[in-house]
């Protein structure tokens, strides 16, 4: 699917020069001065045809007798055609189609997603250019497509599909008065009742009969009010299936009705000329343009409808009007110009057919011009050849542009599925041999998944990795995977996608509650009663101590409380989709500068700064607790002060940014400076601070490692040497490991990185989101502690299998939390909800290029994905980080001196078993990516299966794009996190090498 969209998409993203006037339009007398365009949404051709022999018409048959009456009484005034739309047959795409005359492309959705306005040249624009007054009434989609283009506009809400009458009645209230007045040249009325009736009841329902009868009356009274210089166009934008839906490419959906009527005779007598049965929708554009005397829109590839033009000049008694050949010539010139420009910018038209078309055109133009110079009307052969040329251009474009390619879609889905299965297989393999290779494998998998194709090569290459997920089957039926299945299934329903934030929260909550329930079910939550009749196999463990177990259980329940509480609170930071009727977006989403009430603004600011402080304080507290700040070197000094410095910068930035400018008018220059400097200082302090690290003003965590870790080791070694003679045995390894941050050697850099990343990403958000980020930190901490507590409980009761592998439940919780915080930071998977303001943080004057703002907006949109993906390896480290406490408390009660040394090793344990460490890391990465990959797969399937769903362009396609880009960002961030861990591993390994010879001396 992704590839399909890509091929469909490349056609237009190379911005063909958009609105451009046609200089060579020949100013003939227009045939009509005015036009009334009645668009009856989803007016299928079957609805418009009349069959007198049909004695028992179904609800949608024979309900528009007016068309037949007019056609039989005035055959030279009117015609009915089948009006064939290009898929996708959705209303918005169709409106674009029959106003621009171009073919739809997928990228239309994303191309101009800032506003949905049509940027290409179109009929409405050209009408406005020549000074025609366009009056619009009806479906408010038009208002968003053509903002401020109408002379007068009466939009009515189109969103509620269940509402059959609001739009139609609104139009009817204004249609006749407007027509009778003189303040218009082109009147467009878009009725929605028939379409909504189809969606709600289907075509075969009495309500449809009522609706069509109403439309019949409308057409009748409009015809009665027409004047001689006015053209009436009655058309449907698409058809509908037997169930009343549309969007796809079946004939039932594509064939709408097109009825043309003029109070003056305009058509030839039926039978005297060959007339088309079916009119492609693009053909309306040049026809209307030439009939109304305006230039044909630039990117139209339509062909004029010849029956509306006199065969030759003079014969029809109106010498000033365009003849068929002239119309064709203007049309061909316009199409050729577009083709020339377009083929220079995009290369998706095959060169051989392009050169063929070029040759065709130059031959035709010389023929036409020579006959025009001689004053003859061009021969019918030339006209036919021009027609042939236009048809060929259209067919060429259609062949290379929009199409659903079922085969390619299936192939794309298969590749994605294969990639997901591979990830699953990797994650379920018990041990991947070879330390170095194992560590490299997540890289391979991540990159492969992102690329897709590379993975296929891996699979076909049969590197022994894709041994199949058979070993994983038993785990497939566990609760976490059930939750994952539910999550993926929820992507297949538009209602659940609309309510995705709540769905993710609900599932996260459920899975969180499942953890203690499961532990209790396994009898691990509570200390075993004094007389334990434990099942055979579970031998009583020496580490078991009731108080330790009870304490750990309490911690676990407290963490669950924090988790659920922060989940609940985070619900108040959600934004609203337009589909959610009664919903008001979070008050914290508005930037502070927009808050009018100064008291409220101060409150928001204080809250934001407070949570910022809490964020910094919590992280520093953690680092200090585990002894990561116990040094005086410049690196540690920087690490110690970087977080607070960054947050002070951020707080100042907010303050400056939100101060109303009037009150500080004299300081405006200073403020301008501060607006630029503060965020940039903050940026440089976290992101691009590596060069400045040399000057020890800022620090990057990776660079920190090189210097920090060895120093810590040095200090530790000194303290060991000093301490050995004094403290005997007991005061040895454990405390020192903790005191000098050795125990958290892996997780501390990750935590610092996440903390700084979080601050940086927070800067790209509205100020109020600081609260949400604090919740994010709380929730992440709660999740980690929940995981480590449950591991510790299992370990304390002797039911742990050993090894470092992270089970599915915490990984899934982690991944769901990423999705949940995507929503809880005020984001939505829709294009209008992208927070464009992020691009101007630190760059209030705007940018020169597009790369930087795009990066900033991406960072803003996927900040939750980034944070959770980078922090993903923490899941592996946390049980080890926390284990020392359990061990210590256990020591007091059990007094098992043997374990103490082992317990206090914390993350150094990972050094003891490098193979296990690396395979667990690989497994964790693979599992995390699998979960995200499965979600992408589900949304791809949703978009493929539901491609003719009413909501596909509003809900599923944007969701797919967000999910896919989120996945890419996640993969990159997981790789970043893993790379950091490997970097630390290398640094630690090097230090051990340096240390060992010294000790052996």
């Amino acid at each position: 699917m992704r590839f399909t969209f890509a091929t469909a998409g490349t056609s237009k993203d190379e911005e063909v020069p958009r609105i451009r006037s046609a200089p060579d339009f020949c100013q003939a007398e227009p045939r009509f001065r005015r036009a009334v365009v009645l668009i009856i949404d989803a007016l299928k051709i079957d609805f418009a045809r009349f069959n007198a022999q049909n004695v028992a018409p179904r609800p949608f048959e024979n309900k528009l007798p007016v068309l037949e009456e007019v056609m039989s009484s005035q055959p030279t005034h009117s015609r009915l055609f089948a009006f064939r739309a290009d898929p996708p047959t959705t209303t918005m795409q169709r409106i674009k189609g029959f106003t621009t005359g171009s073919l739809p492309t997928f990228i239309d959705v994303g191309n101009n997603f800032a506003s949905s306005a049509i940027l290409e040249d179109n009929l409405v624009h050209q009408l406005g250019q020549v000074g025609k007054r366009v009056v619009f009434m009806g479906d408010d989609t038009w208002e968003s497509l053509f903002p401020k283009k109408f002379h007068r506009s009466l939009p009515f809400p189109s969103f509620n599909v269940k509402d059959l009458h609001t739009v139609d009645n609104g139009i009817l209230q204004h249609l006749y008065p407007t027509m009778e007045g003189s303040d218009w040249d082109v009147l467009i009325a878009h009725f929605l009742g028939v379409d909504h009736c189809g969606h709600r009841f289907g075509p075969d329902h009495p309500a449809m009969a009522d609706k069509l009868t109403q439309m019949d009356a409308v057409i009748r009274s409009v015809i009665g009010r027409l004047e001689n210089d006015t053209l009436l166009v009655v058309m449907g934008d698409h058809g509908m299936t037997d169930t009343g839906d549309h969007g796809g490419e079946s004939l039932k959906e594509t064939d709408a009705a097109l009825f043309l009527y003029s109070p003056a005779p305009i058509f030839p007598i039926p039978g005297t000329q060959t007339e088309p049965e079916v009119v492609p929708q693009t053909d309306l554009v040049p026809t209307l343009a030439l009939l109304l005397g305006i230039p044909i829109p630039y990117s139209s590839i339509g062909q004029v409808l010849l029956t509306l033009f006199p065969r030759d000049k003079g014969s029809s008694g109106a010498p000033a009007h365009l003849s068929q050949a002239e119309a064709l010539w203007i049309n061909a010139k316009q199409v050729n110009r577009f083709l020339e420009t377009y083929s220079q910018m995009a290369k998706d038209i095959p060169p051989e057919s392009l050169s063929l078309l070029r040759a065709d055109f130059s031959r035709l133009s010389s023929q036409y011009l020579s006959s025009a110079q001689r004053g003859h009307p061009p021969s019918p052969a030339v006209a036919a050849a021009l027609q042939g040329y236009l048809t060929a251009v259209r067919d060429t474009c259609r062949a290379s542009w929009a199409r659903f390619h079922p085969l390619k879609m299936v192939a794309g889905i298969a590749i994605l599925a294969a990639a997901c299965m591979l990830c699953l297989a990797v994650s379920e393999l018990p041990a991947v041999a070879g330390e170095g290779r194992a560590l490299r494998a997540p890289l391979v998998t991540g990159v492969g998944l992102a690329g897709g194709v590379a993975v296929v090569q891996l699979v076909t290459g049969g590197r022994g990795q894709g041994r199949g997920p058979l070993g994983a089957l038993p785990t497939l039926f566990s609760v976490p995977l059930l939750v994952l299945v539910l999550r993926c299934a929820s992507l297949l329903s538009d209602s659940y996608v609309v309510a995705e934030g709540r769905v993710a929260t609900f599932l996260l909550c459920s899975l969180g509650v499942y953890v203690p329930l499961r532990l209790n079910w396994d009898g691990l939550l509570l200390p075993v009663s004094p007389d334990p009749l434990r099942p055979p196999g579970a031998h009583p463990s020496p580490t078991l101590s009731p108080s330790a177990v009870r304490r750990e259980s309490l911690t676990l329940l407290a963490c669950l409380g924090v988790l659920v509480g922060s989940l609940y609170l985070s619900l108040s930071f959600h934004a609203c989709r337009e589909e959610q009727g009664a919903c008001s977006p979070s008050a914290f989403l508005a930037p502070l500068s927009r808050v009018q009430d100064s008291g409220l603004r101060n409150l928001h600011y204080v809250l934001s700064v407070a949570s910022l402080t809490a964020w910094t304080f919590a992280l520093r507290r953690w680092l200090r607790h585990y002894g990561n700040l116990n040094c005086s070197g410049p690196a540690v000094f920087a690490a110690r002060w970087l977080l607070p410095a960054a947050s002070v910068c951020l707080a100042l930035h907010w303050a400056v940014n939100s101060t109303p400018e009037e009150s500080f008018r004299n300081l405006s220059e200073l403020m301008g400076l501060a607006l630029v400097a503060l965020p940039r200082a903050a940026f440089s302090s976290w992101g691009w601070g590596r060069p400045s690290y040399r000057a020890s003003t800022g620090i990057s965590p990776q660079a920190e490692l090189h210097h920090l870790i060895p120093q810590l080791y040095q200090r530790m070694r000194q303290s060991l040497e000093d301490g050995e003679p004094v403290g005997a045995g007991d005061g040895g390894g454990g405390p020192a490991v903790e005191a000098y941050g050795l125990g958290t050697v892996y997780s501390a850099p990750l935590v610092v990185l996440c903390g700084l990343l979080g601050l940086g990403l927070l800067m790209l958000h509205p100020e109020g989101m600081a609260l949400s980020f604090l919740l994010l930190l709380l929730e992440a901490a709660a999740l980690l502690r929940l995981h480590s507590s449950s591991t510790a409980l299992a370990l304390l009761q002797g039911a742990h299998t050993g090894g470092f592998s992270v089970p599915w439940t915490p990984v899934l919780l982690w991944a769901l939390a990423a999705t949940q915080f995507f929503h809880a930071t005020g984001h939505l998977p829709t294009f209008p909800s992208i927070q464009w303001g992020a691009a101007f943080v630190g760059f209030p004057k705007g940018h020169a290029g597009t790369l930087l703002p795009a990066t900033l907006v991406t960072l803003n949109t996927f900040s939750a994905h980034i944070l959770f993906a980078v922090g993903c390896p923490l899941l592996l480290f946390w049980p080890l980080v926390c284990e020392v406490r359990g061990g210590r408390r256990g020591r007091g009660v059990v007094a098992g001196d043997g374990e103490e040394g082992e317990d206090a090793v914390m993350e150094m344990r990972l050094r003891e078993q490098p193979e296990r460490f690396s395979s667990a890391l690989l497994q964790l990465g693979a599992r995390y990516l699998f979960i995200h990959g499965a979600q992408v797969l589900a949304s791809v399937c949703a978009a493929a299966i539901l491609r003719r769903h009413l909501m596909v362009w509003k809900v599923f396609a944007p969701k797919l794009m967000f999910e896919a880009s989120g996945f890419l960002v996640t993969s990159a961030s997981v790789l970043l996190g893993l790379a950091l861990v490997m970097r630390v591993d290398v640094a630690v390994g090097r230090w051990f090498k340096k240390l060992l010879p010294e000790e052996s001396r």
């Binding site: 269940k162 609900f506 396994d522 009898g523 939550l525 989940l567 609940y568």
Partner: protein, 219 residues
């Protein structure tokens, strides 16, 4: 012995199930315009009341309740009072949990609380009847090896089924079908009730099926 117990359980469960049915039908004669959707609160309280009363009666008659050490009146009264307190606490707990799961906090708080009452009478009342007001025993029962009698096993099954039913009942709420039963909390309370009924059916069946494997340690 085991077969007798299972037979007793089947008849008890049949009585409870029919009481739910009666509680759904009876108000038709007393309440005007009664319907499960329209006057949902009436239905809900009628069902939870009847389930609670029937459960208490049956377990009292069967004498399943844990043996009491003392038979003094004061002890019995304090036990009764503690049971009532636990019931109310469980209602509050369920209410809190349901709110944390995303139910509206202020608007329709009555509906939420009614759902909590229903859930309590489907789960807590049975716990009170079988195990008495003894929270550690409740927690014990919810573990794999915690069941000490057939009734404990059936308690496990019905409780899990009711809660899962209520959980599943939340699924249709976001869908845009505009059905009357999608209104909060109708789908959840219906889900809980259907879950409970399913549990009533499953429990004896499952026990019957596994009667050979089931070994209970004595108390």
């Amino acid at each position: 012995m085991r077969d007798l117990e299972i037979k007793g359980m089947v008849s008890a469960h049949a009585i409870i199930a029919s009481s739910i049915f009666i509680a759904t039908v009876m108000p038709l004669f007393f309440v005007e315009k009664f319907s499960v959707y329209g006057t949902h609160m009436v239905w809900l309280y009628s069902v939870s009341g009847s389930v609670a009363v029937v459960n208490i009666t049956i377990f009292w008659l069967l004498g399943i309740s844990p043996p009491t050490k003392k038979h003094t009146l004061g002890y019995k009264v304090s036990r009764l009072l503690r049971s009532c307190l636990y019931f109310i606490l469980s209602c509050l707990l369920f209410h809190a949990v349901v709110v944390l799961y995303g139910a509206p906090l202020l608007e329709s708080a009555l509906e939420t609380f009614s759902l909590a009452v229903l859930l309590s009478s489907l789960t807590t009342v049975r716990c009170l009847c079988v195990l008495g007001p003894n929270v550690p025993a409740w927690i014990r029962v919810l573990s794999r090896d915690g069941a000490m009698s057939v009734w404990d096993t059936s308690l496990q099954i019905t409780t899990a089924c009711s809660v899962i039913g209520a959980w599943l009942g939340a699924f249709p709420i976001p869908l845009d079908w505009d059905r009357p039963w999608q209104v909060w909390p109708i789908s959840c309370s219906l889900g809980a009730t259907f879950g409970y009924l399913t549990g009533l059916v499953i429990a004896p069946t499952w026990i019957h099926w596994h009667r050979k494997q089931l070994t209970y340690k004595s108390k």
